[in-house]
Amino acid sequence: MSRPDTDRPDGGRPGMNRPGRDDAPDRLYTITQGRTRTSPDNPFDLVTLVVAESEPAPGMQSEHVAILELTRFPASVAEIAAELRLPVGITKVLLCDLLAAGRVSARHPRRPAITDPDILEQVLVGLRNL
């Protein structure tokens, strides 16, 4: 099969994937049974910390297993999404499932961690280094 990106009008514009040989065959909607929305009162945003409350059970969806293993120690939603390589929205749906099943718990990170002057200083250093 010819690689169509060569004749693609946008010439492979930034952010567009080349149709690779090795994407996973699962489409995102099959992971969530077609759900993309979470209820408005869900507790998850990007920095919500998630902790597993139980071990993975056999027969679970592999993403759920991965999340439970990942959140054995607290991990943020953004991290989980990154680790799973799933969009945050999809990750939230999965997390909501787990939360509803009582398999994970969610809490927001403590505020003081960010206001620590040392950290701010390091931020400054980091910014200078850019």
Binding site: M1, S2, R3, P4, D5, R8, R13, P14, G15, M16, N17, R18, P19, G20, R21, D22, D23, A24, P25, D26, R27, L28, Y29, T30, I31, G34, T36, R37, T38, G59, Q61, S62, E63, V65, A66, E69, L70, R72, F73, P74, A75, A78, E79, I80, A81, A82, E83, L84, R85, P87, V88, G89, I90, I119, Q122, V125, G126, L127, N129, L130
Partner: protein, 632 residues
């Protein structure tokens, strides 16, 4: 011949009696007279003698009379017989004559008719011959015409099939590209509405892609995509579900850990998709379709059970025949009933066995046996299909890259990999093979141990000189052991990279992936699946780089933070097209010095990542891929 005697011819007794009477009377009178005349003395003897003589005389006369009469009758009869004979002779002669004439006539007639027949026969024959020749000629011409037509039809058919196949292949390519684009967009847009719309489009495109796949299969084109790694059963099932309209109605019951070899995975998925589609289409719109996966000695049985229509005997036979893959002609296909024919082709190609049976759910059950030949034990990382899929790509190669770096920094040689421009050259088969060898050779453990430290994320790494980052990690690795292994590592590193990433530099160009190694060290599947599919975008890379720099700056420990300006060459843009490695790559210099700390240093701090190798992974990856979308 004796003529019959007439009644009058026979001497009647009456004649005989009358002659006898007359003679008797006369002789009696004579005797009486004689007696009367004779003396008495002789009277007695005379009377006796005369009487006797008279009787004899009478008898003689009577006999004579009778004989006379008889002779007369006989003569008359003789005459009549003679006449009869003459008459008969004449008659015979006449008849013979007639017969002769008749015979002659018949002979003549026969001869004449024969002549006539001969003539007409000859004429008829000539006519027929002519007619036959004409007909033959016509048929020959017709035959030639039909042959030509057949030839043309064959050519047309071949051309049409080829064109269709070609078009289908292009549609497949387009669908695949669209799906990849959609996947990228899904990662970039965080808005739920946009995501929902994108997923909708994704679903439609996947169905269109399946149709293109079906056409391609029927026209004998190569089946759509080829997967480079084994695909786990869960992904197989999801991949199949994702291509049908009613995927929400499919319930999967599977705990199977089996995986299908990459080359056959697409066929299995496609066949399964067709079977699922059939099941979903031929059952009530609200009924669920259940899929069970069972591992048996012969392979894996996937059973698809619906509660829809039960197939009749005839339908069942037809379906069995269709899925057996024995029928090759395209005739009889309708646009909406491609499914089973496609399944048949795919089954034949990939060695699947499909059978039907009534389902306990009231509908039809389909059993799909995936033979052992195309099953593999789940690759260490592929077992967890989609979620884990990305990991292996970074996993095995990342630590190696780190080793590569360090090695390369010290020995800029890494000679075989460097092109004239100083850029590394990818060498496909050989490097891979050598990498494989290198991995198994005893001195390569060097790099493994080198990873080990990273895995455990010892804090010492941060203090260690940059070049020694890897070995310093475990602290026990003598520098000497590392050095010799470095070239090998470099080689292997690039080899592993080349699998998915064309321009993987040998030296120091992609150190950044180091952070990724810790958790993936355990799963050394040497393929970089997604990397090939994810070309770097400059903007994305820059953005990601910035973000990760920022992030590392924010992290508390990092005493060696910065190392500003270290190895600017590392981040030479365009070195790597691999998106996954990019961010890390650009940030490499700092990253390596700093990243280990997050892994290990974090525990020291009060960050949530505390504790060990399991918590550590998280920080490493996020910036590799998703950062782009979280920041975008």
């Amino acid at each position: 011949m004796t003529a019959p005697t007439h009644p009058g011819d026979r001497p009647s007794p009456r004649t005989f009696v009358s002659a006898l009477a007359v003679t008797g009377v006369l002789s009696a009178l004579v005797v009486c007279a004689a007696v009367a005349a004779a003396p008495d003395s002789v009277r007695a003897p005379l009377a006796a003698g005369a009487g006797a003589a008279a009787v004899l005389f009478s008898a003689a006369v009577a006999t004579a009379a009778h004989a006379l009469r008889t002779a007369r009758g006989t003569r008359r009869r003789l005459e009549s017989v003679t006449q009869d004979v003459g008459r008969l002779l004449r008659q015979q002669a006449r008849t013979a004559e007639e017969a002769r004439q008749e015979q002659q006539r018949l002979i003549d007639e026969l001869a004449q008719q024969r002549t006539e027949f001969t003539e007409s026969f000859a004429a008829e024959r000539a006519r027929l011959e002519e007619e036959g020749a004409r007909e033959l000629n016509r048929l020959a011409k017709e035959n030639a015409r039909l042959t030509g037509e057949l030839e043309r039809a064959r050519r047309d058919r071949a051309a049409a099939v080829a064109a269709t196949s070609n078009a289908a292949a292009r549609m497949q390519a387009l669908a695949t590209a669209t799906l990849a684009d959609l996947r990228a967009m899904e990662d970039r847009h965080t808005d739920e509405d946009v995501l929902a719309d994108l997923l909708h489009l994704d679903h439609r495109t996947a169905q269109a892609g399946r149709l293109a796949d079906s056409v391609a299969v029927l026209t004998g084109a190569r089946s759509g995509r080829r997967w480079a790694r084994p695909i786990g059963m869960e992904s197989i099932l999801r991949g199949a579900m994702g291509r049908i309209a009613g995927y929400r109605r499919v319930r999967v019951h599977s705990v199977s850990e089996a995986a299908v070899a990459g080359h056959a995975a697409e066929g299995v998925m496609h066949a399964l998709a067709e079977l699922l589609d059939n099941a979903a289409n031929f059952s009530p719109p609200t009924a669920e379709v259940h899929v069970y996966v069972e591992e048996v000695p012969a392979g894996v049985i996937v059973s698809v059970e619906d509660s829809g229509l039960v197939m009749g005997e005839v339908q069942l036979r037809r379906a069995e025949r269709a899925v057996s893959g024995d029928v090759f002609e395209l005739g009889g296909l309708t646009g909406t009933r491609l499914g089973l024919a496609v399944v048949g082709r795919l089954a034949r190609k990939t060695g699947l066995t499909v059978s039907f049976r009534p389902s306990a759910r009231g509908g039809t059950g389909v059993l799909l046996l995936i033979p052992q030949e195309i099953l593999t034990s789940p690759a260490p990382a592929a077992a967890e299909p989609s979620a884990a899929a990305p990991r292996p790509e970074i996993g095995p190669s990342a630590p190696v890259r780190q080793a590569v770096d360090t090695g390369a920094v010290h020995e800029p040689a890494a000679p075989p990999e460097e092109g004239p421009a100083g850029l590394p050259r990818r060498r496909r088969g050989s490097t891979l093979a050598r990498a494989e060898r290198a991995r198994t050779t005893p001195d390569t453990p060097g790099h493994r141990t080198a990873l080990g430290p990273a895995d455990h994320g010892t804090a010492s790494a941060t203090d260690a000189p940059r070049s020694a980052a890897a070995p310093a990690g475990h602290g026990t690795a003598p520098g000497g052991t590392r050095q010799p292994s470095a070239p090998g590592d470099a080689e292997r590193g690039t080899a592993t990279d080349t699998a998915g990433q064309p321009a993987a530099p040998a030296a120091g160009v992609e150190p950044g992936t180091a952070p990724g190694n810790p958790r993936h060290h355990a799963s050394p599947a040497p393929d970089a699946p997604r990397s090939a599919a994810a070309p770097a975008s400059d903007t994305g890379r820059v953005r990601a780089a910035r973000f990760s720099s920022f992030r590392q700056a924010v992290r508390p420990p990092a005493p060696g933070t910065g190392r500003p300006g270290a190895a600017p060459g590392d981040s030479a843009p365009g070195q790597s097209r691999d998106r996954t490695t990019d961010p890390a790559h650009t940030t490499a210099p700092d990253e390596r010095a700093v990243t280990p700390p997050p892994d290990d240093g974090v525990p020291a701090g009060d960050s949530p990542y505390g504790a060990g190798e399991h918590g550590s992974p998280a920080p490493s990856h996020p910036h590799a891929y998703p950062e782009g979308d979280t920041t975008s």
